[in-house]
């Protein structure tokens, strides 16, 4: 049995080894859980929209709630112009949310606890938002780095700070999700280790903590998916409407 709290994050290949050049692209447990995540979302939406009725059943109600939640989030933070990006934000939110929730099942694997996965998502958003901004505003999108009403003396400093903060967006977006998931899961396993080492007499206290922490982790799993999606909306808002 695994004794190190970090062994849960191990990625190993299942099935045959596939290699292209120096890159190992074999099917791993990480890819398996990504497939499970996408399959769960697809099955849920296919089943819930099978019988479309005016008075929704339980499944349809849940699907409509998710739809309205994301639609409201986008219209509140990024306005009406962000409507075309609704499918992207919805898939992003659901992928992160379901990946986090699948990771809460014992002995499963959390896809989002690896920085390479979250960084790929965040970097894709960063590139996409930058391209949208340049298409929408042309070269004047660079005004984003020059806030209005700043004295000319401070301007060289402010522009540098704005550029650095813009470039660090993908890093902070990805590290936030990855660190939250990894820290939470490590903490759960550490408390699980306390239960085993304290035995039948003293193990009840960390067991209670473990139960409480599992509840907290489910909250965090939802919250981080929400924050990931809402920050994407905020970045999109910056690209669509130049406020500065």
């Amino acid at each position: 049995m695994a004794t190190n709290p970090m062994t849960q994050f191990e990625v190993y290949s299942i099935g045959p080894k596939i290699q292209i050049g120096n890159i190992d692209i074999s099917f791993t447990n990480s890819s398996l859980f990504m497939v499970i995540t996408v399959a769960l979302i697809s099955i849920f939406f296919i089943l819930s929209t099978q019988k479309k009725s005016l008075i929704p059943g339980k499944m349809q109600l849940l699907a409509e709630m998710i739809y309205e939640f994301v639609a409201k989030m986008i219209s509140d933070t990024a306005g009406k112009d962000a409507r075309p990006y609704f499918p992207f934000i919805l898939s992003l939110f659901l992928f992160v949310l379901v990946a986090n929730m699948v990771g809460m099942i014992p002995y499963s694997f959390t896809v989002t606890s690896h920085i390479i996965v979250t960084f790929a998502l965040a970097f894709f958003i960063f590139i996409g938002v930058t391209i949208i901004g340049f298409i929408k505003h042309g070269i004047s999108y660079l005004k984003l780095f020059v806030p209005s009403g700043v004295p000319a003396v401070l301007l060289p400093l402010i522009v540098v700070i704005e550029i650095i903060s813009y470039l660090s967006r993908p890093i902070s977006l990805s590290v936030r999700l990855f660190a939250n998931m990894m820290a939470g899961h490590t903490m759960l396993k550490v408390f699980g280790g306390f239960v085993v080492s304290l035995g039948i007499l003293g193990g009840w206290l960390p067991l209670g903590f473990s139960v409480a922490l599992t509840g907290l982790e489910i909250l965090v799993a939802f919250l981080q998916a929400y924050v990931f999606a809402i920050l994407t909306c905020i970045y999109l808002n910056d690209a669509l409407h130049l406020h500065h």
Binding site: V175, F178, A179, V227, I230
Partner: protein, 75 residues
């Protein structure tokens, strides 16, 4: 052996960042609560902002934790 000890001390120091996150989360929830007590009708509308602020504040502390883990496992 000295390097090993220095790594342990460095990782412990990096975990101090979590104190700042604790202060930040406390400030956010405390101010939300006092604001909600003064004007309960406006509280529901600000709940998403509360969650956003909570997640942003928590993440800064976790950056410190990531630094600690990098020191421990990546070097």
């Amino acid at each position: 052996m000295e390097l090993e000890a220095a790594k342990m001390i460095g990782a412990g120091l990096a975990a101090i960042a979590l104190a700042g996150a604790g202060v930040g989360i406390g400030t956010i929830f405390g101010n939300y609560l006092s604001g909600a007590m003064r004007n309960p009708s406006a509280a529901q509308k600000q709940f998403p902002n509360l969650l956003l602020g909570f997640a942003l504040a928590e993440a800064t502390g976790l950056f410190g934790l990531v630094v600690a883990l990098i020191i421990l496992f990546a070097f």
